[in-house]
Amino acid sequence: MSSSKAEPAGGHGHGHALPWYQAHHFDSMEVQNHAVRLGMWLFLGTEVLLFAGLFLGYTVYRWLYHQSFHEASRLLSLPLGTINTIILITSSFTVALGYHAIKVGKQKACVGYLAFTIACAGAFLVIKFFEYKHKFEVGELPGRFFTAYHDFSPLGAKGANLYYAIYFLATGLHAFHVIVGASILAWLMVRVHKGKYGPHHYVPVELGALYWHLVDLVWIFLFPLLYLI
C-alpha cells in the first residue's frame, strides 16, 4: 500500500537511508508490515460486509420463496459450477505457493505460480461466461427480464425471478472481484519478474494472495448456496 513511496527518507533521526520500500513515517519494516497487513485485513472485512447484504437477501427470499429457490437452483449447471469451484480452490493453493516461493527467494517459481493463478482466474471467467450465456438464451434472468416460467411448477415460478436477481448480483459482483484480484496478481507478477520483491520484502505478494483467498472464499459460500441446496 504505502510500501513504494517515492519520496526519499527525509525524516529526522535517521542516520542511514531507508530501503526504497520503507515509508519514512514508519520506524521499522516490522511496523510497516504490521500496518499494511492490518489494513488489508480490515479491507477484507469491508468486502465481506459488502457481500453480506446479498447473503441477507438470499436468506430472506429463500425463506419467502422456498419452492422457487429449490427449483431454480436445479436449473444451474452443477458440473460447470463444480469445475469452477475446483479451479478456484486450485488457484488459491497456487497463489499460496507463490507467496511461499517469494518468501524463500525463488522469484522464477513465484512468477510461474502467479501466472498459473491468473490463468485459473481466466478459465473461471470463461466458464462463467458460458453459464451466463445459457441463462440469457433461456430467459432465466432477474426481475422483469425473467421469461422462463415454463421451466417451473406453478408454485415455483413465483419468486424465481428473485433467485436469478440474487444469482446474477452475487456472481456478477464476485466475477468483478475475480477480475480485480487477477489484475492485482498480474501487477504483482510483473513486479516480481522485475526483481522488486524477495525474502526481505515480500509483503505485497502476501497481501495480493490474501485478497485472492477472499475471492475464493466468497465463491466457497456462493457455490453451495446457489448450486447445491
Binding site: 515509508a23 480490515l42 447484504g53
Partner: protein
C-alpha cells in the same frame, strides 16, 4: 505567507517554515501526502457543503413561513429537503470532524509523522470530491425527491433522477471506508514510544471507535444504494413488491448503516468535547477510562439499535421491544460521558472562552436530544411521534447540534495550532452565543410542533401550526447569522490574527508540543509520551497544585 513580524508582544513565535509553506505551488497542494494539508482540503470542502446544505435549510424554513406556498412549489420543496438531507449527512456531518480534525490531529496527538497510508488518505479526498460531484450533478439534473432515506417503493417509481445520487453515495462511502481504515491502522501502529492505549487522548479513542463503525457499516449502505440504483435502471425486483421483492428489507439494510452512521457523526464530536472540557478546565480528565471505553460501547451497541426506525414497519412486538431496550443502552453510555465531562469541569480553573460556550451548548443538546431519544425509543410513544417534527427536532438536537458544537468548538480550539494565529475572542463568544440560542430557537418550536401533530416532509401545514413555524424560521436566521460571523472573523484571523505561539492554552497534549503551525514532519524531534495527555495535577492533590 510572509510575515512582517513573526514574534508577538508576549514573545510567541510564528515559525518561518511550516507545513503550509514548506512546499510551494498548486501541485504541492493537490498532490500532497501531508495529513495536515489534506485536513485543510477537507476543511474547505466540508465548509462548502455546510454552507450549501445550510442555504437549502434556510429556503425550507422560508417556505414554511406561511402554511401554503411561500416561495417554491411542492416538487421543489421535496427536492429541497432531499438535497438538504443528503448534503448535510453525506457531504458534511459524516466527513467533517474525522476528515478535518481526525486528519489534522490524529498523527499530532499520537506523536507520528503522518497517518499510516498517506496516499490512501489523499485518495479519500478525491473520492469524496468525486462522490460529491456525482451526487450534486444528480441533484442539479433531475433533483432527487425521495428524502435522504430513499425508501422503496417510492424511490423506485419516482421520475426524478435518483441513480446518480445513489451512486454518488456509494462512492462517498468508499471515501469514508478508506479514512476509517487508515485511522484504525494509524492508531494501532504509529503511537509514540510510551503511549499505551490508556494514555491516548480521548479524541483519538473517539476517532478510533468511529472508524470501526465506518469500516463495518459503510459497505452495507454502499451495496444498498447500488441495489436501488440497479433496481431503477434494470428492474431486478430486489426491493420491488410488484416483483416479489421485500421493501422492508430495504429499510433493514438502510438502517443497519444509517443508524450507526449517527454515531459516525456524533462520536468524533464527543471526542472533541472531551479535549475541550479538559483543556478549558485545565484539569485531569475525570473518568478517563470510562469515557474512552464508552466510545467503544456506543459503537458496539449502535450496531444493534437500527430497528427503532422501523417500529411502524410491521415489526413483531419482541423485535420492537428488543430494539427499544438496546437503543436505551446508548443513552447509558452517553450519560457516562456527560457525567464525566461535568465531573471534569467541577472545581476546574475554567477559562471563559469560546470553546466553553460550545461545551455548554453541546451538553445541553446532547442531554435534551438524548432524553427525547430515550422517549422515542419507547415503542408506544414513537408511534405517536413517528414521522412528525418531534423526530426532526430530536435528531437535529442530538446529531446536528452535536456536530455543529463539536465542529465549531474544534475549529476555535485548534485554530491557533492549525494556522498559528488567534481568532478574536469577543467575536468568537458572541457568534457562539448566537449559534446556541439560534439552534434552540429553531428546534424547540419543532419539538412542540411535532408533539402537536405536524408531520415532517409535508409541503403545507394546518393554520394552527403557523406561529411556531414562524418562531422556528426566526431562530434559524439567528443560527445563520452566527455562522456568517464566524466565516468573517476566522477568515480575517487567518492573516491578521495575533500570533498564537506553540501552546496558547497551556495544554499537555502532544499536539501542543510542536510549533504552531507545525512543520511538515510534525515534530522537530520525534516525541515520547511518558505522561498521560491530561496531566494538570499530580494524583491525589487538589486543583491548586497545578503541574504545568
Amino acid at each position: 505567507m510572509a510575515q512582517s513580524n513573526d514574534v508577538s508582544a508576549d514573545g510567541a513565535k510564528y515559525p518561518a517554515v511550516h507545513y503550509m509553506n514548506a512546499d510551494a505551488g498548486i501541485k504541492s497542494w493537490f498532490l500532497t501526502l501531508d495529513h495536515k494539508r489534506i485536513a485543510l482540503m477537507y476543511l474547505v470542502l466540508t465548509t462548502l457543503a455546510f454552507i450549501v446544505g445550510g442555504l437549502f435549510a434556510m429556503a425550507l424554513r422560508i417556505e414554511h413561513l406561511t402554511p401554503d406556498r411561500t416561495i417554491m412549489g411542492a416538487n421543489t420543496y421535496n427536492r429541497m429537503f432531499t438535497l438538504h438531507g443528503v448534503v448535510m449527512i453525506f457531504l458534511f456531518m459524516i466527513p467533517a470532524v474525522p476528515g478535518v480534525f481526525g486528519n489534522f490531529l490524529l498523527p499530532l496527538m499520537l506523536g507520528a509523522k503522518d497517518v499510516a497510508f498517506p496516499r490512501l488518505n489523499l485518495l479519500s479526498v478525491y473520492v469524496y470530491a468525486a462522490g460529491a460531484a456525482l451526487a450534486l450533478y444528480g441533484m442539479a439534473s433531475g433533483g432527487a425527491d425521495a428524502g435522504w432515506t430513499f425508501y422503496v417503493p417510492y424511490s423506485l417509481s419516482t421520475p426524478a433522477a435518483l441513480a446518480p445520487v445513489l451512486f454518488g453515495i456509494f462512492i462517498l462511502g468508499f471515501s469514508s471506508i478508506l479514512t476509517g481504515l487508515n485511522f484504525i491502522v494509524t492508531v494501532h501502529t504509529l503511537r509514540a514510544p510510551g503511549m499505551t492505549w490508556m494514555k491516548m487522548p480521548l479524541f483519538v479513542w473517539a476517532i478510533y471507535a468511529t472508524s470501526i463503525i465506518q469500516v463495518l457499516a459503510t459497505p452495507v449502505i454502499g451495496l444498498t444504494a447500488v441495489l436501488v440504483g440497479i433496481e431503477r435502471i434494470f428492474g431486478f425486483g430486489f426491493f420491488d413488491p410488484s416483483r416479489g421483492g421485500d421493501p422492508v428489507m430495504f429499510q433493514h439494510m438502510f438502517w443497519f448503516y444509517s443508524h450507526p452512521a449517527v454515531y459516525i457523526m456524533v462520536l468524533p464530536t464527543m471526542g472533541v468535547i472531551s479535549e475541550l472540557v479538559t483543556g478549558t478546565a485545565r484539569k485531569n480528565m475525570f473518568g478517563y477510562k470510562a469515557i474512552a471505553l464508552s466510545s467503544l460501547g456506543i459503537a458496539f451497541v449502535g450496531f444493534f439499535a437500527w430497528g427503532h426506525h422501523m417500529f411502524v414497519s410491521g415489526q413483531s412486538a419482541l423485535d420492537a421491544g428488543s430494539f427499544a431496550f438496546i437503543s436505551m443502552l446508548v443513552g447509558v453510555f452517553t450519560a457516562i460521558k456527560v457525567f464525566n465531562w461535568v465531573g471534569t469541569m467541577y472545581r476546574g480553573s475554567i477559562a471563559i472562552r469560546t470553546p466553553l460556550i460550545y461545551i455548554c451548548g453541546f451538553l445541553f443538546f446532547i442531554v435534551f436530544g438524548g432524553m427525547t431519544g430515550i422517549a422515542l425509543a419507547t415503542v408506544s410513544l414513537d408511534i405517536h411521534w413517528h414521522d412528525t417534527y418531534f423526530v426532526v427536532a430530536h435528531f437535529h438536537f442530538i446529531m446536528v447540534g452535536a456536530v455543529i458544537m463539536g465542529w465549531l468548538g474544534a475549529i476555535h480550539f485548534w485554530f491557533p495550532k492549525m494556522f498559528g494565529r488567534m481568532y478574536h475572542e469577543g467575536w468568537g463568544m458572541v457568534s457562539a452565543a448566537f449559534i446556541v440560542l439560534g439552534f434552540n430557537a429553531t428546534f424547540i418550536p419543532q419539538f412542540l410542533l411535532g408533539n402537536a401533530g405536524q408531520p415532517r416532509r409535508y409541503y403545507m401545514y394546518d393554520e394552527r401550526y403557523w406561529a411556531l413555524n414562524v418562531a422556528s424560521t426566526a431562530g434559524s436566521t439567528l443560527l445563520a447569522f452566527g455562522v456568517l460571523m464566524i466565516l468573517i472573523y476566522l477568515g480575517y484571523a487567518l492573516k491578521n490574527g495575533a500570533i498564537a505561539g506553540d501552546n496558547p492554552w497551556d495544554l499537555a497534549g502532544l499536539e501542543w508540543k510542536t510549533t504552531s503551525p507545525p512543520p511538515k514532519e510534525n515534530f522537530e524531534t520525534p516525541p515520547t509520551a511518558e505522561e498521560d495527555p491530561y496531566t494538570y495535577q499530580k494524583k491525589g492533590e487538589t486543583v491548586e497544585h497545578v503541574v504545568i
